[in-house]
């Protein structure tokens, strides 16, 4: 055990925390709101590094961040190939098909309150189920390729998206609908001009929930069988070989991909629903 490094970690932690306490007592500017979490994140990394080195923790248990960073840079081509396989082919295609299908289904049952009343509770119920368990079945049906991963994603995102869209289409209030009636607007006019825009916040909520589900589905489905490329494949094989630096590098890719995906959808949401109170801050 290297006492200096351990002490260094404790001192660094206390110093950074003290700095954050001081910063958070200042006037809450945009700068403060960005810098404080950044300092916190950096502190975690530094303390991690120092503790792993100071306590001589083996790299097969917890590699230090510097080692993960080096591995990340070294393996960029592999990580890129895995990213393409899992994110672009598996998650994204499944996301578009699943969300698209759910949206069209919601429109299709829009005129049938009976079907809506039946599908909403069933959809809510299915959304709480461990759908990820369907993965082995779909791998069996569609093979080890990305198609089976996309299929898992389709099933995972379908119900949350459906439920949100159906609820969204009911969001326009009575007064607004009555106004449309006084204009003698047709069903499609009222749908396009009133109900779909009013549903947008709900639809985007469904789209945002689905981003995380899509990535989880695509990665976990690879645990059940995949070609020799893909983020889930890499994680499960490298864990088996105890090269945890590679696993952490892959997790870093997953984290970045996940937040970037979510971020893009949030930006689209802001552009499309700028009028909604939650976006006007």
């Amino acid at each position: 055990m290297n006492t200096t490094l351990v002490l260094g970690a404790i001192v660094f932690w206390l110093a950074a925390w003290g700095l954050n306490i001081w910063l958070s007592k200042q006037k809450q500017t945009r700068f403060i709101r960005v810098i404080v979490p950044v300092i916190f994140g950096i502190t975690l990394l530094v303390v991690w590094e120092l503790l792993v080195r100071g306590l001589n923790i083996k790299a097969v248990l917890l590699p230090p961040p510097s080692m993960i960073g080096a591995k990340f840079v070294d393996s960029l081509p592999i990580l890129w190939a895995d990213f393409q396989q899992t994110f672009i082919k598996g998650a994204l295609s499944g996301y578009f098909i699943g969300c698209g299908a759910a949206f069209l289904t919601a429109i299709a049952i829009d005129r049938s309150p009976f079907l809506q009343k039946g599908l909403l509770p069933v959809g809510n119920f299915v959304a709480a189920l461990p759908i990820i368990g369907m993965a082995p079945i779909l791998v069996m049906w569609l093979g080890f390729g990305w198609q089976s991963k996309a299929a898992v994603v389709v099933i995972m995102v379908f119900f949350p998206m459906l439920v949100n869209t159906v609820q969204g289409l009911q969001a326009a209030d009575h007064m607004q609908k009555d106004l449309m009636r006084t204009y003698a607007a047709s069903y499609w006019q009222s749908l396009l001009k009133l109900r779909l825009p009013a549903a947008a916040p709900f639809i985007f909520n469904g789209l945002k929930i689905s981003t995380t589900l899509a990535l989880i589905g695509a990665i976990v489905a690879e645990f059940f069988g995949s070609p020799i490329v893909g983020m889930g494949f890499r994680i499960s094989t490298e864990v088996g070989r105890l090269s945890l630096d590679m696993v952490w590098a892959e997790i870093a890719v997953a984290a970045m991909a996940g937040s970037a995906f979510y971020g893009v959808v949030s930006l689209l949401e802001r552009a499309a629903t700028f009028w909604h109170p939650s976006q006007r801050g």
Partner: protein, 291 residues
């Protein structure tokens, strides 16, 4: 009668539709095998016999609902619950890890939320990371946690519970921060006019106000905890638990076993969410927040 139909009719119709679709899909997916078998053995089948065959294969692509139900019946009621082939035994393994993780995650989540609401530095430092963690697939680290914990000698329920804890933790933090902040400015001002302490404000105002948020996040958390346990049972050739049943089934092409494990997992999830909902209704009604 009419009111009952209005209430349950739509759901029953949809569920019935799903079952019919399931049988139709079973015919479509399993026909290839039936035709293949006929090609090898010769002979002919009428349409009815052909359909009957697609619903009664040993390793069908898609087992018919009654096959799955029969399998569940066989592996629950007809097996002693200590047997390794009892589905109840496997379900209990999964359930115990889920509940342990869920309980821990909930308690830790509430504690962190209390800290975030009462400490400005903590709010600014930690909250953005908690929100960001909602957007990343944290489930991906499950295999690593299992293997690392195994390497340092921690096996059995605990590693799985840690993953469940981790997954149920974040929804609870986010929900409870929202809940503790749900009292409006007027209610907080009111507390101020009475010179209430932070502690009193917490127990008399923030905590009761957060109850609806608590139950919403508990429902999300318990479902996430179950998924966490099942995924945690996949690596390292685990032999017990529903996740292990899924994996074993997929190795040996035992589709009926996969589907029965899946249905069991679904009932567990539904049961857990239903229990939380019941407690929610009871509590909120007692508190007078549900009319």
């Amino acid at each position: 009668m009419k009111r009952l139909w209005n209430r349950f009719g739509p759901v029953i119709t949809v569920v019935f539709g799903i079952i019919v679709l399931w049988y139709v899909m079973a015919v479509a997916l399993n026909s290839a095998w039936t035709i293949d078998k006929l090609g090898r053995t010769g002979g002919e089948l009428s349409v009815v016999e052909h359909i009957a065959d697609t619903w009664s294969q040993d390793k069908p692509k898609l087992p018919a609902p009654h096959q799955v139900v029969a399998e569940i019946w066989k592996t629950t009621v007809q097996k002693s619950i200590t047997s390794k082939r009892s589905l109840i035994y496997h379900a209990w393994i999964t359930l115990s890890a889920t509940l342990a993780g869920f309980g821990l995650g909930t308690v830790l989540g509430i504690l962190l939320a209390v800290g975030i609401v009462h400490n400005k530095a903590m709010n600014l430092s930690v909250m953005p990371w908690v929100i960001a963690s909602q957007t990343i697939p944290i489930l991906a680290i499950a295999p690593m946690i299992i293997v690392v914990l195994n390497a340092i000698g921690v096996t059995g329920l605990l590693p799985k519970a840690i993953i469940s804890m981790y997954l149920s933790f974040f929804p609870v933090v986010v929900g409870m921060v929202k809940g503790f902040r749900s009292p409006d400015q007027m209610q907080l001002d009111q507390m101020r006019t009475w010179y209430a302490s932070k502690w009193q404000t917490f127990w008399k105002l923030r905590w009761p106000s957060s109850m609806p948020y608590l139950f919403t996040s508990l429902k999300i958390g318990v479902a996430a905890a179950l998924v966490g346990t099942i995924v945690a049972e996949l690596p390292t050739g685990a032999v017990r638990g529903l996740g292990a049943r899924l994996l074993a089934g997929s190795y040996y092409g035992q589709t009926i076993q996969i589907w029965s494990a899946l249905l069991m997992a679904a009932s567990l999830a539904a049961g857990l969410v239903a229990i939380v909902s019941l407690v929610e209704r009871f509590t909120l009604r007692r508190m007078g927040m549900l009319r």
